[in-house]
């Protein structure tokens, strides 16, 4: 069915009510410099073959060829097992929108339930929702949730949380009159969480681990600090694979955990799609945003799955809902569930170890080549280096060759000019790392 709700006649009568002649008259407040008044230069129709050629040319213009991308910063390159795309493509799962009706949606509901269960185990949390949009909006929702629970209007957010996440959170929070306090980072690359005085009117402390510098935060100390000051602890993450190796946030005492799940089975298609993972302790579940799938029994006492606690959601509670978003990234969550089930607990640990070991190798080789490690906190698959003089040119030269030698940090942290964030995942081979070092030395 086509969704074209307004006929020309409809539009004409609506314009008449408003008292303007044409649709353009509705936009005079948009400055002329921001209007697109030119003709659209859209080329004529292509045949399928021509279009494919055209797209290939465009793709080549944008992509850096080769596999030597030593960059993460929130988007981590991981191998996606064939089982993921194979199961994702099953027609039962390719379904529009939300499974309101359990009697016709058991497969989808069970898949979401299994996703929630697997994420719950990974993060060590009691309740996981059916997913949100991405790591950034998940952080914003976590902060809003903390404000809801505590009824306080200030939140302390680590400056070592992904800069994009912080910007999204600010966009959510500022219009609601919620104040975001920046927590500085220490010389070792970790968050100085003790700098959030006064704690009296503070709702929560939010940190990311591993943080944007790749440094692993001392979650236990942060959560204990929060508990003793009557604050909620929020742990964000951009690389969930780290918890294959590290102690998970739940075991360290986190109240709310939120992050990006793209590392699990989702490709890096030009920055998307993302998967917002969101979890909390059971006592806060009624303040949680998003959908939840629960397990129930039918009248014959057989297991079944249903949407549950829906009274938090906007289709029932309208303006009093916990969030104005009840859409979840179901298909991406399914990919993550298949990925986690395919890799398994042991596999997750091995894969995480591989990431850590490979990145430690590059870290060591870079130090030999004259780079300094400015932050001495332990890292997972990503770390910051301080480059020797003149590296800027080398970085540019390597880029031309299709080798991305890390992300320059100065645009996000002006005080870190000459600092680069590098990442190594399981997809990087030793020869690629050695080649990078050779190129840097030459």
């Amino acid at each position: 069915m086509r969704y074209l709700p307004h006929t020309d006649e409809d539009i004409r009568s609506m314009l008449e009510v408003v008292g303007v002649k044409c649709l353009d008259d509705l936009f005079p407040t948009v400055p002329e410099s921001c209007q697109f008044i030119r003709e659209n230069h859209i080329p004529g129709p292509f045949s399928e073959w021509e279009l494919n050629d055209h797209m290939e040319v465009l793709a080549k213009k944008q992509s850096r060829s080769g596999n030597s991308r030593f960059i993460g910063a929130g988007s981590y390159e991981h191998y996606v097992p064939a089982s993921v795309s194979s199961l994702l493509g099953r027609s039962e799962f390719v379904t529009p929108y939300t499974p309101y009706q359990p009697e016709i949606s058991q497969g989808t509901l069970q898949a979401i339930y299994e996703y929630q269960t697997l994420v719950g185990r990974l993060l060590g949390m009691e309740v996981v929702n059916a997913s949100l949009y991405d790591g950034a909006s998940a952080l914003a929702e976590a902060l809003l949730m903390a404000v809801r629970i505590t009824r306080k209007k200030r939140v302390a957010v680590s400056s070592a949380i992904h800069p994009h996440y912080r910007r999204v959170a600010e966009t959510y929070l500022r219009p609601s009159g919620i104040e975001m306090v920046d927590l500085p980072y220490l010389e070792n690359g970790r968050t100085d969480f003790t700098r959030c005085d006064p704690v009296e009117d503070l709702a929560a402390v939010a940190v990311q681990s591993p943080n944007f510098f790749g440094c692993i935060e001392d979650l236990k100390m942060i959560c204990e600090y929060c508990d003793s000051n009557d604050l909620l602890s929020i742990v964000s993450f951009a690389e969930p694979l780290a918890y294959g190796l590290l102690k998970n946030p739940g075991s360290q005492g986190a109240h709310i955990v939120c992050g990006e799940g793209r590392s699990f089975g989702l490709p890096l298609w030009f920055g998307g799609p993302g998967l917002g993972m969101f979890a909390c302790r059971k006592k806060y579940m009624r303040s949680m945003p998003g959908r939840l799938v629960g397990k129930a029994v039918d009248k014959d006492c057989k297991d079944g799955f249903v949407l549950t606690l829906a009274t938090r959601e906007q289709h029932i509670r309208r303006e009093k809902a916990t969030s104005n978003i009840c859409t979840n990234s179901s298909h991406c969550a399914l990919a993550a569930a298949v990925y986690m089930a395919t890799v398994g607990g042991t596999g997750m640990r091995e894969l995480a170890t591989l990431n850590r070991d490979k990145s430690e190798y590059l870290k060591k080789e870079l130090t030999k080549a004259g780079f300094k490690i400015p932050f001495d906190a332990p890292t997972f698959n990503e770390f910051v280096v301080k480059s020797p003089p003149g590296f800027e040119q080398t970085h540019r030269r390597l880029m031309e060759k299709g080798i991305v030698a890390g992300l320059p940090l100065a645009s996000y942290y002006p005080e870190l000019a000459g600092y680069y964030l590098l990442c190594v995942t399981e997809t990087a081979g030793r020869n690629e790392m050695d080649e990078l070092i050779r190129e840097i030395r030459s």
Binding site: R151, R286, T311, I316, R317, K320
Partner: protein, 133 residues
């Protein structure tokens, strides 16, 4: 669902149009939802209560009652400060169904103006309202 004549509504309580009741207990006022309200809502699974020390004006929303089929906001019959809440509802929200006017009370408060109680309905007036008289 109960017929109106089957409702168990105490004589000494005062009633609101939103189906809360208020009862004078010495200096304090005890508040809950009426037998009619719990019957309409069905099985109650959660009661969100205010915090002790919170102050409200008459008619302010001070909590919610969630049943298997709906969520209802709770509105204060009179203004004042919350002095205690019924903590047993955290574990046993069904008390609101089984004993809406006794064990299922929701909060106690110190009224700012005890005279506000006089503006509420007595049992008969509330029954008339329910009957649509």
């Amino acid at each position: 669902m109960k017929e109106i004549d089957e409702l168990n509504l105490p004589e000494e309580a005062y009633y609101t149009q939103n189906h809360e009741w208020a009862r004078l207990d010495g200096e304090e006022i005890t508040i809950g939802i009426t037998d009619y309200a719990q019957d309409q809502l069905g099985d109650i699974v959660f009661v969100e209560m205010p915090q002790i020390g919170d102050s409200f004006s008459k008619g302010d929303e001070f909590g919610t009652v969630e049943s298997v089929k709906a969520v209802a906001e709770l509105y204060l019959p009179v203004g004042g400060e919350i002095v205690s809440v019924n903590n047993s509802l955290e574990e046993s929200p069904e008390l609101v169904n089984t004993s809406p006017h006794e064990d299922g009370w929701i909060a106690r408060m110190k009224p700012a103006d005890p005279g506000e109680v006089d503006a509420l309905m007595a049992k008969n007036a509330y029954m008339d309202m329910l009957k649509g008289v």
